[in-house]
């Protein structure tokens, strides 16, 4: 994929404005600048978005999940102590791997570094859950949440991982809201919670990460909610009752129509902007809101269709919607791109969590999803190449 300036150089060379020597010197200079920019971690390095890469990535995740669940379903044949040892090996690999990625690549592979830490942190959570299961510990989920928050939060401080500290915020909120003293400020619980919020905000400030700081502000706000929120909760209850009074089929069909509308709006706004010009809801300028509407709908539909077949159907629909959004705006809108990734990962987790008792079935679903996505990725790859070739051909003609 050539950048604008590279294409310009091609053009100059072709028209004889500059000779071949100058052209190649210029190209070399651009390459060096880009690399230097990347080394410094600046945004200048052209961020290339390929729908093919994304779908291939999704396929890889699905197949990996299928393998993991297949192993999980047959775990009884692995001695328990070996399982715990394996989990610990993953923890060490995650944390050390992240640190080594940082040592080797610095900020250039920041997402991979964070992903390594996340894997390590997730393994810790899984390991504690595993021990709970091994010894039938019925202790409080709240205690476990505090352990997770402390484990991920403190290790996140240690390796300066934004992702780990963000996850810790979630566990901390759970610990606070679920606690017996959630609605009193004069309690040890609230003091601990407030201190942890302060630590999180302080860390985010030190790391100069605005989004992490915002997450901790929100965490603090949610934690305080039970204290100020009796009326809020009552209003919420009334809303829920009213919603529940509507017949189920009506709710589902209404949400499906909204979802269809959101998907259509995305497609029309992106590819046929002139078709419905008079209607601003279809405009590509509203893409963010259209996308959000679809996600909201998916959330509600998940609430309606939560049993086996409905869940699988709903998850497939959600993945399809996310793929449509990525196809339309994955390249241009960073927010849509990343939220789509998160939703996809979330769908996998939901399906896994809900159908954990029929693990082989779940594994089969992921395997099928992975294979389908791999086929889609291949098709998209061919299409992208063909478009590119055609684009080049057109330029050559002109």
């Amino acid at each position: 994929m050539a950048t604008l300036i590279e294409r310009q150089i091609d053009d100059w060379e072709k028209r004889g404005v500059i000779d071949a020597e100058v052209a190649s010197a210029l190209r070399g200079d651009i390459g060096a600048t880009l690399e230097a920019g990347a080394r410094k971690g600046t945004q200048k390095a052209a961020r290339r978005f390929s729908f093919f890469q994304v779908v291939a990535f999704f396929a890889a995740i699905s197949i990996a999940a299928a393998i993991l669940i297949f192993i999980a379903a047959n775990w009884d044949y692995v001695p328990r102590i070996a399982r715990a040892g394996g989990v610990m090996a993953v923890i060490v690999a995650g944390y050390l791997g992240g640190a080594l990625v940082h040592a080797r690549y610095g900020l250039r592979r920041r997402i991979i570094e964070e992903a390594c830490y996340l894997v390590g942190g997730a393994a810790f959570i899984g390991g504690v859950a595993l021990i709970g299961q091994m010894y039938h510990i019925s202790g409080d989920e709240r205690d476990a949440a505090l352990l997770y928050a402390a484990g991920l939060g403190l290790s996140g401080f240690a390796v300066r991982s934004l992702a780990l500290v963000a996850v810790a915020a979630g566990w901390m909120v759970y610990w606070q809201v679920d606690g017996p003293n959630a609605d009193t400020i004069l309690s040890l619980q609230f003091v601990v919670f407030a201190l942890s919020i302060g630590a999180g905000i302080g860390f985010a400030t030190l790391m100069k990460s605005a989004w992490l700081r915002r997450i901790w502000y929100v965490a603090g706000a949610i934690g305080v909610l039970p204290i100020v929120g009796h009326y809020f909760l009552e209003a919420l209850e009334w809303l829920v009752d009213t919603y529940d009074a509507i017949p189920v089929t009506l709710r589902i069909s209404a949400w499906l129509i909204v979802l269809l509308f959101a998907a259509l709006a995305l497609i029309v706004g992106r590819f046929r902007p002139t078709l419905l010009e008079g209607l601003p809801v279809f405009s590509s300028r509203r893409a963010g809101r259209q996308f959000a509407l679809g996600l909201l709908t998916i959330a509600f539909l998940h609430g309606e269709l939560s049993d086996d077949a409905g869940l699988i159907a709903m998850s497939s629909l959600a993945v399809l919607y996310v793929l449509i959004a990525l196809y339309c705006y994955g390249r241009d809108r960073q927010a849509i791109r990343y939220i789509s990734y998160v939703v996809f990962a979330g769908e996998i987790l939901v399906v896994y969590g809900e159908t954990v008792y029929s693990m082989l079935g779940t594994s089969g679903f992921f395997l099928a999803l992975g294979v389908v996505l791999a086929i889609v990725a291949f098709a998209v790859y061919r299409l992208e190449r063909r478009w590119k070739a055609r684009g080049k051909g057109k330029k050559a003609d002109a």
Binding site: G41, A73, W75, D76, R80, I81, A84, V87, M88, I91, V92, G94, Y95, L96, G98, A99, L100, H102, A103, G106, L107, G120, F124, I125, G127, V128, A129, L130, I131, G132, Q133, M134, Y135, H136, I137, S138, G139, L147, G151, L154, S155, A158, V159, R160, P180, L206, M207, K208, G353, V356, Y357
Partner: protein
Amino acid sequence: MHKKPFLVISALVSAVVLCANMVWMIADRAAILRDGREVVLKTQPIDPRDLLRGRYVRLNYSISRVPPITFTGEKPDYFDSGTAIFVRLEEGADGVWQAAEARVGPRPDDGAGVWIRGETYFRMASTDNPANVRYGIERFYAPEAQAPEIEKRMRDGEVTEVVVAVAADGRAQIKALRQAGNTIYTERLY
């Protein structure tokens, strides 16, 4: 922050601390299993399932409700959620252990008795009604391969006895399931 000083060391320490935490949990539980006093409790199982940890059977014991008459020593006017309660267990004629005495507060220092540590789990306005107590042994996670059969037996009420190991500090740990005196499932140490 572009530089992360001491990163590899920090990562190593983090991983070691997290793993040490897991090892400590395992060693702690294994110690209760190995050294704890064995008692047999009557149980009625209730429903299953846990999102993170797979399936389990929720157990309710005859000692889960502690009648007011068993309380000795000082007693508050009401039970807050999370009040620590120690219950002394005594073996009955049928081999099943029952609550013989209960105390609010720290473990009584009488040496001989088997005291199991529990906590109330919701606020009770009066202490004149039986106290609802949890001992941390209210879940049984069935191993995947044996789960369906054990769960079925438990729900049919055939499994009615749970062998529990009680540590010196009062913490308890499920050790085995029994059915009419025969052990049908024994927990391994590790």
